[in-house]
C-alpha cells in the first residue's frame, strides 16, 4: 500500500541503482555534435574583438558569438539582463564569450582554441565590501515598532555584531548537461538536467522569438539540483540551441566539473550586521539588522533571494521593534543564484550567532535565551504576520533538549574548558533554532495560480501531469501517494508524468519548498475530482443513486460487491473518451495580504521549524573540527513519506555543516583559486557526523494532509550549530564561516594562543 505516512519505494529507485536511469549526458542522438564554451579570462574587460578562425578548428566545427544571436541577448528570468553571450564587455571570469561545436568532445575543445578574444582590462569590483560602495541591484527593508526609541531606552543592554558567510558551490554530482535540436518543421526541442522546465521554455521562447508551442522542453533524470538547476539550465539550453541552429544538428553541452564550478551560480556571500537591545532577563526588545548580499555580475534572482533574506533576518524570535535593511550588490564575479535556503541560511547564521552573543553577555545558556524569545502561536513576525497554530519553535527546542541533554552538557563543557592543555580533543555542543517560510514569498503563488492536470487514459489509469521535477527529493512517489490517499485509488492506478512541456501544464518551478505543500495539494484535489467523475458515470450507467465506496482501488457497493476502479475507469473512458481535469492553485483567503512596498502582511502561507544540536571534537593542535553527532528536530506539518522526509533533513543538515566547516570558494582578483573538486571540499562520509532526525508533526490546514515544505529547512540550522559547538569546545567564537583550521588559528592567535575561558 502507498498510504500517507508510509514509505513505499520510489519508482526511480531501481533504475538508479542499476544504472538504467538516463541523465543529461547519458544518451546519444544521431549526428549529434558536442558543444563547448569559450570563457572570459578577465573579471571585467571590454571585448575588443571575438574572432572565429575556422582554419585552425577541426573540420566541420561551428562557432556562435553575440553577433549571431537571433533575438535579444538576455536570458529571461525575472528580467533579461543576464547576457547569453558577452558582447561589449565581460563582467566575470568564466563568462561565456562564444560557443563552438564539433563532432567529438575533444574536437570541441580544440575548436575553443580557434576563437581569438581580445580583451581590454577594466577596473573590477570583486568583493562585497567594495561593491557596497556602489549602487546596489536592489534594496528591500521592513520596519516594525519604534526601533530608535527602544535603543534610546537606557535600561536596555545592547550587543552588536557583524557576521559573514561565503560562496557555496552546489556540487550536484551531475554537472550541467543539455541537448538541443531543431525538428524538420523548425520546432525547437531540448532535453536535459533542470529543475524548472517552464523557466527553460520561457527563456528559449524569448531568445529565439519562437511561438511557445514551437518549443518543447523535457527534463532528463536530474543528478542533484539544490537550486543550481533552477536558473542556470536556461543559459545552457539557449547555448545548446544556438549551436544546434548554427550547425543544423543536435548539440549536447555537458560541462565538466571545472567548468561547472567556474561558470555557474553559487550561494550569495553575505555580510549581516546586528544591533540588539534586550532586558536583563534576556528578552529581546529591538533588533536593527543590515543585510548585504553579493549578487555577482548580473541581477538574475538576487532580488528574490534578498527578499527572503530580509524576511528571515530576525530569526524565529519575538521582538516588538525590528528594522531590517537589505541590499543586493554587484561584483565582477559569477552570478550568484538559487541555492537551497535562498538567502535564509545566511541571515539565520547571523541571527543565531548574535543570539548566542546576547546570551553570553547575560551568562545565559543558549537554550534558555531561545526558549525565552522563541515565537509562539499568536506572536507577530516583523511583517505583522501572526504566528499560526503550528508554530513549533518551542516544541523543537524542548524535544532536542530531551534527546541530547544539551543544557547540562553544554554548561559542563563550558566550565571544563578553561586552560586545559592535555592534548586531547576538545569537545563542544552547539544549538540552533531556525524556521523556513514554505512556498513562494509574498504574493508569488497568488500571481502564478499554478495548474495541475490529471488524465484518465484508456487503461483506466490516472496520470498526474505537473511540471515538477524529481531531482532526488522524491516527488515521483509522493504525488501518487497523495493522489491515492485523497481519492481512494490503488497504487497501481496512478502514474506520475515525466515533466515535458509538450504534455504537462506550467505548474511552476521545482523550488522554494513548494512542490509538496502547494502543488501537492492540487494533486490530491484533482485526483479526487477525476475519480469522482468515474464514480458518477458508473452510477449513471448502473442506473443507481447509491454511491459505491472507493478505497484501495476498489469500488464497493452496499451489497459488498467490489470492482477494480481501473476496470470501471477503462469502461468509462471507452464510452466517453479520455477524461482530463485541471485545477489551479487558489491561495487561502485567510490572513493579511502581503504588501510588497512596505513588507507588511503574510509573507508565507506557513513556516516549518527546526532545532539542531551538533556535537564536535576539535583537535587542539591542528584545530580541525570533527562533527560527531547532529540531532535535527524538525516540524514539517505532516511527513507524507517519512524516509524521504528524513532524507531531506539528513542531507540538508550535512550540506549546512559542510558550509559551516569546510566549504570555501577562495577568490583572487575575481578568479577562483579552488575551482576543482580536489580543492573545493565537501563532506565525505568520514567527515560526517551521525545524523539523527526527529520529526514533529503539526498538520497545516493549507497543505495536503497537513504537509509543509521541507527541502530547504535543514539548510538553515547546521552552520550556526556547528560554529556554536566549536565555541563551546574552544572558547573561540567565530562570526564568519567556514570554521576552517586556518580561521580558527587566526582567532586563537588573536586570543593570545590559548583557548579562552
Amino acid at each position: 500500500m502507498t498510504r500517507i505516512g508510509e514509505s513505499p519505494p520510489r519508482p526511480d529507485g531501481l533504475p538508479k541503482v542499476t544504472g538504467g536511469a538516463r541523465y543529461g549526458d547519458d544518451f546519444e542522438l544521431p549526428g549529434m555534435l558536442y558543444g563547448a564554451t569559450v570563457r572570459s579570462s578577465h573579471a571585467h574587460a571590454a571585448l575588443e574583438a571575438v574572432r572565429w578562425r575556422p582554419e585552425r578548428a577541426p573540420e566541420g566545427a561551428v562557432c556562435v558569438t553575440a553577433a549571431d544571436l537571433p533575438g535579444p541577448n538576455g536570458v529571461l528570468l525575472i528580467d533579461d539582463a543576464w547576457p547569453i553571450l558577452a558582447a561589449e564587455e565581460t563582467c566575470h571570469v568564466g563568462e561565456a564569450v562564444a560557443l563552438v561545436a564539433a563532432a567529438s568532445r575533444l574536437d570541441a575543445r580544440r575548436a575553443v582554441a580557434a576563437v581569438e578574444v581580445e580583451y581590454r582590462e577594466l577596473p573590477a569590483v570583486v568583493d562585497l565590501d567594495a561593491a557596497d560602495r556602489h549602487e546596489p541591484f536592489c534594496r528591500y527593508g521592513l520596519e516594525r515598532g519604534d526601533v530608535d526609541a527602544a535603543f534610546a531606552d537606557a535600561s536596555l543592554s545592547v550587543v552588536e555584531g557583524t557576521y559573514r558567510t561565503g560562496h557555496q558551490e552546489h556540487i550536484y554530482i551531475e554537472c550541467q548537461a543539455m541537448t538541443a535540436w531543431f525538428q524538420e518543421d523548425g520546432a525547437l526541442r531540448v532535453i536535459g538536467s533542470m529543475q524548472c522546465p517552464y523557466y527553460v521554455h520561457k527563456s528559449l521562447v524569448h531568445a529565439f522569438g519562437l511561438a511557445p508551442e514551437r518549443v518543447r522542453v523535457e527534463a532528463s533524470a536530474v543528478g542533484g539540483g539544490f537550486g543550481g538547476k533552477e536558473d542556470f539550465p536556461s543559459m545552457v539550453a539557449i547555448h545548446a540551441a544556438l549551436l544546434a541552429r548554427a550547425s543544423g544538428r543536435p548539440v549536447r553541452i555537458a560541462y565538466d566539473r571545472h567548468e561547472d564550478i567556474v561558470g555557474t551560480t553559487k550561494r550569495h556571500p553575505a555580510r549581516v550586521r546586528h544591533r540588539t537591545a534586550f532586558t536583563d532577563e534576556g528578552r529581546l526588545r529591538a533588533m536593527e539588522i543590515e543585510v548585504v548580499i553579493d549578487g555577482g555580475a548580473y541581477p538574475t534572482l538576487s532580488s528574490v533571494v534578498l527578499s527572503r533574506a530580509v524576511l528571515h533576518a530576525a530569526g524565529p524570535y519575538r521582538c516588538p521593534n525590528v528594522r531590517v535593511r537589505g541590499r543586493a550588490v554587484r561584483t565582477h564575479t559569477a552570478t550568484n543564484g538559487a541555492f537551497r535556503g535562498f538567502g535564509a541560511p545566511q541571515v539565520q547564521f547571523a541571527v543565531e550567532r548574535q543570539i548566542d552573543r546576547v546570551a553570553r553577555a547575560l551568562d545565559l545558556d543558549p537554550l534558555s535565551i531561545r526558549l525565552r524569545n522563541a515565537l509562539v502561536p499568536g506572536d507577530h513576525f516583523p511583517t505583522g504576520q501572526v504566528a499560526d497554530e503550528t508554530t513549533s519553535a518551542r516544541a523543537c527546542l524542548e524535544k532536542v533538549q530531551e534527546i541530547t541533554g544539551f543544557r547540562e552538557r553544554w554548561r559542563q563543557l563550558e566550565q571544563a574548558r578553561g586552560g586545559r592543555r592535555d592534548g586531547r580533543p576538545a569537545r563542544g555542543l552547539g544549538l540552533s533554532l531556525y524556521f523556513h517560510g514554505a512556498g513562494f514569498t509574498g504574493n508569488g503563488e497568488r500571481r502564478m495560480r499554478s495548474p495541475v492536470t490529471a488524465r484518465l487514459g484508456r487503461d483506466g489509469r490516472l496520470e498526474i501531469l505537473t511540471a515538477m521535477v524529481d531531482m532526488g527529493q522524491g516527488v515521483a512517489v509522493v504525488y501518487p501517494q497523495l493522489a491515492c490517499e485523497a481519492s481512494g485509488l490503488g497504487p497501481d492506478d496512478v502514474t506520475f508524468a515525466d515533466p515535458d512541456t509538450g504534455r504537462v501544464p506550467d505548474s511552476g518551478p521545482t523550488v522554494a519548498s513548494r512542490t509538496t505543500m502547494v502543488v501537492g495539494q492540487l494533486v490530491s484535489r484533482v485526483a479526487v475530482e477525476l475519480a469522482e467523475r468515474v464514480v458518477e458515470w458508473w452510477m449513471k450507467s448502473q442506473g443507481t443513486t447509491e454511491r459505491p465506496a472507493l478505497a484501495g482501488g476498489q469500488l464497493t457497493t452496499a451489497d459488498g460487491t467490489a470492482r477494480p476502479f481501473r476496470e470501471v475507469a477503462a469502461a468509462c473512458v471507452a464510452e466517453l473518451g479520455e477524461l482530463e481535469t485541471t485545477l489551479r492553485y487558489e491561495p487561502p483567503e485567510t490572513g493579511q495580504p502581503f504588501d510588497e512596498a512596505t513588507y507588511q502582511g503574510d509573507a508565507y502561507p506557513t513556516f516549518s521549524w527546526g532545532a539542531d544540536v551538533v556535537e564536535v571534537e576539535v583537535d587542539p593542535d591542528s584545530l580541525e573540527v570533527r562533527p560527531q553527532r547532529a540531532v535535527a528536530v524538525c516540524e514539517v506539518g505532516r511527513a507524507l513519506h517519512p524516509t524521504l522526509c528524513a532524507g531531506q533533513i539528513e542531507g540538508g543538515t550535512l550540506q549546512a555543516i559542510g558550509w559551516g566547516l569546510l566549504e570555501e570558494m577562495k577568490l583572487e582578483g575575481g578568479r577562483y583559486l579552488n575551482d576543482r573538486m580536489a580543492t573545493y571540499i565537501i563532506p565525505t562520509i568520514k567527515d560526517s557526523p551521525r545524523i539523527q532526525v526527529h520529526l514533529l508533526e503539526r498538520p497545516f490546514a493549507g497543505g495536503p494532509f497537513g504537509a509543509k515544505g521541507v527541502g530547504e529547512l535543514p539548510m538553515d540550522g547546521g552552520a550556526p550549530a556547528v560554529v556554536a559547538a566549536v565555541e563551546n569546545a574552544t572558547g573561540l567564537g567565530l562570526s564568519e564561516i567556514p570554521a576552517t583550521p586556518e580561521r580558527l588559528m587566526g582567532a586563537l592567535t588573536a586570543a593570545g594562543g590559548v583557548f579562552p575561558k
Binding site: S7, P9, R10, D12, G13, L14, K16, V17, T18, G19, G20, A21, R22, Y23, D25, D26, F27, E28, H170, I171, Y172, I173, E174, C175, A221, V222, G223, G224, G225, F226, D256, R257, H258, M471, G472, Q473, G474, T643, L644, A646, G647, E650, G651, G652, T653, L654, Q655, R676, M677, A678, I682, T684, I685, K686, S688, R690, I691
Partner: protein
C-alpha cells in the same frame, strides 16, 4: 589499438586509443552509461567500477590497463544475489538524485564481497572516496544495516 576485456561477464573486443579513459570507453563505446563522471579527477567516486575484484576510479584508468581483465559496472550488479542489497538501498533512502549511486553500490559490492558484515567504521572507510551530496550518507549506511548486509 585492439583491446580485449571482459565487461559484466561478456568478453568484448574494441578499437580504442590505449590512453582513452575506461570511463569514456564504457559510456561511449559500450553504452554503459550507468557509470557517471562527477569530477574527472578521481575525487568523487561516481565513476567507480570493479576491476578484477577491486574498486577503481574509471576516470583515472587508461583502457589499456583494463586489457585482458574483468570489469564489473553497476549494470552488472542487478544480476544475481546482489539485487536484494540494491532494493534495500532504495528502501532505506540510500538513493536520492542517484548520480553518486552507481559508484556507491559498486564500492559496496566490492566491500561486501570481502566482508559480508562490515562494521560502520569499515563501511565509512570503504566509502570514503564516494561523495554524495543528497543523503548525508545516513540512508546509505542504513542499507548495510537493515536486515543484515546482502
Amino acid at each position: 589499438m585492439k583491446i580485449r576485456l571482459t565487461v559484466n561477464g561478456t568478453s568484448r573486443e574494441l578499437d580504442a586509443h590505449p590512453m582513452a579513459r575506461l570511463l569514456d570507453v564504457l559510456r561511449q563505446e559500450l553504452d554503459l552509461t550507468g557509470t557517471k563522471e562527477g569530477c574527472g579527477e578521481g575525487e568523487c567516486g561516481a565513476c567507480t567500477v570493479i576491476l578484477d575484484g577491486e574498486p577503481v576510479l574509471s576516470c583515472l584508468v587508461p583502457v589499456l590497463q583494463a586489457g585482458g581483465r574483468e570489469v564489473e559496472t553497476v549494470e552488472g550488479l542487478a544480476e544475481g544475489e546482489g539485487r536484494e542489497f540494491l532494493e534495500r538501498f532504495v528502501n532505506t533512502g540510500g538513493v536520492q538524485c542517484g548520480a553518486c549511486t552507481p559508484g556507491i553500490v559498486v564500492t559496496a559490492r566490492a566491500l561486501l564481497a570481502r566482508d559480508p558484515e562490515p562494521s560502520r567504521e569499515q563501511i565509512r572507510e570503504a566509502l570514503a572516496g564516494n561523495l554524495c551530496r543528497c543523503t548525508g550518507y545516513e540512508g546509505i549506511l542504513r542499507a548495510f544495516r537493515a536486515g543484515g548486509p546482502g
